[in-house]
């Protein structure tokens, strides 16, 4: 039981005790000598007890938790009416019934008990109503309004205290005080923000509930007026001023609410339509986020437009584009009627304009004999494209106005936004797919780069390779041949991107295919192709598949580290930079050689030469792609062969890794802050004197 729970338990006990005291006083006052008690309490005591009881009941109600749950205004009114109001009315009804059935009851003890009980119920009802109205008045109210309400309560309390004084103010003063309070109450009754939150049905309910509350109030006023002259219970006017004032406020508030709700009833439809429009707009917006198809967005737009404009017939026409066919949606409109409307509009150059006609009986439309009175047209267009039009028809004339046109316009622009959003999403998904595929290509290409460099104690190799884009056109590879020989291939496919990457893979395939042992060889030398043979065969293979403007540059080195020599051929690739330890000199090997895929008929072998060289321990070979020597600085100067040569002159005595690091540090210094335009590959091979094997 809520009554027993703290902190209300004390107050509820006080309510009960004060009522019992009031009852006892009333009984002794009305029936002197009852139960052998001869003391008759003075009239003032009854007033004090009644005021005390009223104060305690109001305090009790004031401390109850907030009655309004969210925006459940109807629930609040229902609880008020079905709870204390019904109870009080039932009790009054019972009392009146008993008076009729038992004629001797008037003046009896039971009558006094009933009367006192009804006073208590009425006070309870007033308190409950007062605080229910407080919840409504203060709904979304400002802090100022809250303070005004407190002032109102204080004034009411002051009136209550006034009753306790033996002093009876002159009629004029009390009338003025009451008038001020009544005006205050009327002012507060104007606070009816909550009515706006009701829909049409709820407003009807609110009207009925408020009528009922006014009814209950009048029953009580009539009851007190009726019983007043018969008994000595109710004192002079100021005594009941408080109750009457409160009843006046409660009734007045209900009346105001009633009137406002009644005046609001015709607009409830508009509110609901607005609400429906907002919901449609939300649904339309949500469709985009769910990434639905354009057809669904059009359907959604079509349905929303028909619903909000209450159209009897409609047609959505989306024009055909290069990629898509035209798209039409009809609602209770034969296609031929749609096209006659469209061509009539086109005659007047109104084809793609916002337009409404509220009387189709005259003019050009009259001749069409359409079963409709009003027409509204809204184009769907963006700065990029004219999509099409929606045609809405109503049987009534004067059915559309500027308002409906502007709502439809909002819908149309939202729809176009959705469609273009969808197209953007689709486009970005396509781009994403291409990027994903490029990532795969990049990963595949990465797997083609040799991860493990050849290791032997006759030489050191250090490598560096970076692609400018996801997939590059540079390549290098190693292959061990029998007889302590090593084949080294480096090259560059013209162009960039996936095509170049594809040719890189092809070139690697050719390398591994051609560098196989020839089983028909008559002697050791013929078992593997010499570099010029390899280039001729590669040119032949590539000539059949490279596009006309594409070519490949490559150099193939076959190092025989058993005999301390190498042979290489340069097919249009960058010159080999070399440090000769015997001469202590750095120079480029100047050999002729034509790139692969440039001439596609016989005769390539005339353009390629082999170069033989016997190396010495300490010699350094630097092979690279044009991304190194053509790298540019901020002034657009190229790094160049000369600077590369200088770098090797400064660092030939280091080991291969450090020579590479020395060159790269200088290159990065040179190109600092500049974007990378081309793939860069750099291999440094340093020959060493033969290290005797361990244990030999």
């Amino acid at each position: 039981m809520a009554v027993l729970r703290k902190p209300f338990s004390l107050l509820s006990v006080a309510v009960l005790l004060s009522w019992l005291a009031l009852l006892a006083a009333a009984l002794l006052y009305a029936h002197p000598g009852l139960g052998g008690v001869t003391i008759s309490p003075p009239a003032g005591l009854i007033l004090i007890l009644q005021a005390l009881f009223t104060a305690v009941v109001f305090l009790y109600e004031r401390k109850l938790p907030e009655r309004l749950r969210g925006v459940d205004f109807i629930g609040l009114l229902q609880r008020l009416l079905l709870g204390p109001a019904l109870l009080a009315v039932a009790s009054v009804g019972l009392h009146q019934l008993l008076l009729v059935v038992l004629p001797g009851m008037a003046g009896s003890v039971l009558h006094t008990i009933f009367y006192t009980l009804n006073v208590a119920l009425f006070v309870g009802l007033l308190a409950r109503t007062n605080y229910a109205w407080r919840a409504l008045v203060l709904f979304r109210g400002s802090e100022r309004l809250r303070r005004q309400w407190v002032a109102f309560e204080v004034l009411l309390g002051a009136i209550l205290l006034l009753r306790l004084l033996p002093y009876a103010p002159p009629i004029g003063l009390s009338a003025a005080v009451l008038g001020v309070l009544a005006a205050f109450g009327a002012y507060l009754s104007g606070r009816q923000k909550w009515v706006a939150y009701l829909n049409r049905r709820q407003k009807m309910e609110a009207v009925l509930l408020q009528l009922a509350i006014i009814g209950v109030m009048s029953i009580f006023v009539a009851y007190f007026l009726y019983t007043k002259p018969a008994f000595r219970l109710v004192g002079p006017a100021p005594q009941n001023a408080f109750l009457l004032l409160n009843a006046f406020f409660a009734g007045f508030y209900a009346l105001m609410g009633l009137l406002i709700t009644l005046f609001n009833l015709p607009t409830a439809g508009v509110f609901e339509q607005k609400r429906e429009e907002i919901l449609s707009m939300q649904r339309l917006t949500q469709l985009i986020q769910r990434g639905q198809t354009t057809a669904e967005v059009y359907q959604m737009f079509f349905d929303s437009a028909i619903q909000t404009t209450s159209a009897d017939a409609a047609w959505l026409h989306i024009e055909a584009t290069d990629e898509e066919d035209h798209y039409d949606l009809y609602y209770q409109l034969p296609a031929h009627q749609g096209s006659t409307i469209r061509s009539t509009l086109a005659e007047f150059n109104l084809g793609n304009l916002e337009y409404f006609n509220n009387d189709l009986s005259g003019g050009s439309f009259g001749r069409l004999q359409l079963p409709f009175g009003s027409l509204m047209v809204m184009p769907l267009s963006s700065s990029k494209r004219q999509y099409g039009n929606i045609y809405l028809l109503q049987e009534l004339t004067q059915a559309f106005d500027r308002e409906s046109l502007s709502i439809l316009q909002t819908f149309a622009s939202q729809t176009v936004l959705s469609i273009e959003n969808l197209q953007l999403i689709q486009a970005s998904m396509r781009t994403q797919r291409v990027q994903d595929e490029l990532k795969i290509a990049s990963a595949v290409q990465d797997s083609l780069i040799p991860k493990n460099l050849p290791i032997d104690n006759w030489f050191e190799i250090s490598s560096y390779a970076v692609a400018a884009t996801e997939v590059g056109g540079d390549f290098y590879d190693f292959l061990h041949l029998p007889g302590r020989r090593l084949a080294v291939l480096i090259g560059d496919v013209s162009g960039k991107g996936v095509t170049a990457a594809f040719h890189v893979a092809q070139m690697k395939g050719i390398f591994h295919a051609l560098m196989q042992e020839n089983p028909l060889a008559r002697n050791e030398r013929e078992k593997y192709p010499v570099p010029s043979q390899f280039m001729t065969q590669a040119n032949d293979a590539l000539g059949r598949c490279l596009e006309k403007s594409a070519f490949i540059t490559a150099s193939l080195y076959i190092i025989d580290y058993e005999h301390g020599g190498f042979v290489f051929a340069r097919a249009g690739h960058c010159h080999t930079l070399y440090y000769h330890s015997i001469k202590e000199e750095v120079s480029y090997f100047q050999t002729p050689g034509l790139g692969l895929g440039i001439i596609r008929h016989d005769g390539y072998e005339k353009h390629i030469k082999n170069q033989f060289y016997d190396y010495n321990p300490g010699d350094v070979m630097v092979i690279y792609t044009d991304g190194i020597v053509e790298a540019r600085n901020a002034a657009q100067d190229e790094y160049g062969e000369e600077r590369l040569q200088q770098m090797l002159e400064n660092s030939y005595y280091l080991d291969a890794d450090h020579i590479k690091a020395h060159i790269l540090a200088d290159l990065h210094e040179f190109t600092k802050g500049q974007p990378m335009h081309d793939d860069q590959t750099l291999l440094v091979i340093k020959f060493r004197s033969a290290q005797p094997e361990a244990g030999l």
Binding site: S494, K548, S549, F551, L594, I598, H607, D626
Partner: protein, 109 residues
């Protein structure tokens, strides 16, 4: 990249100005793809203002090489800057194409 044309009865001279890279090589390709070019006897390329040539630019000349040879049209380069000539030489194109020092030499070819 700017391409200036000068035509006589038998000769078409194209003066290249700027950098011949992937994007500008499309322009050059359009010029060299015109059918009437195969009716001239000589196409002279003035490389005086050509500061840079990328592999895409080289690819344009390479792709038309065979067609010109078949139609008996001579392709002659002149006034070539040293670093551009170096690019032609590294790729070995100097053995396939005629590169001469001056316009006078070019007309004499």
């Amino acid at each position: 990249m700017k391409i200036t044309q000068h035509a006589t009865d038998t000769t078409l001279t194209l003066a290249l100005n700027g950098e011949l890279d992937a994007s500008s090589s499309v322009l050059l390709d359009t010029e060299l793809s015109k059918p009437e070019i195969l009716r001239t006897q000589k196409v002279l390329i003035d490389c005086q203002q050509l500061n840079y040539i990328s592999s895409a630019g080289l690819g344009v000349f390479i792709s038309h090489l065979q067609t010109f040879q078949d139609a008996n049209v001579k392709l002659v380069f002149f006034n070539m800057q040293e670093k551009v000539r170096n690019v032609f030489e590294i790729l070995g194109l100097d053995s396939l194409m005629t590169i001469v020092p001056s316009e006078a030499d070019a007309t004499a070819v």
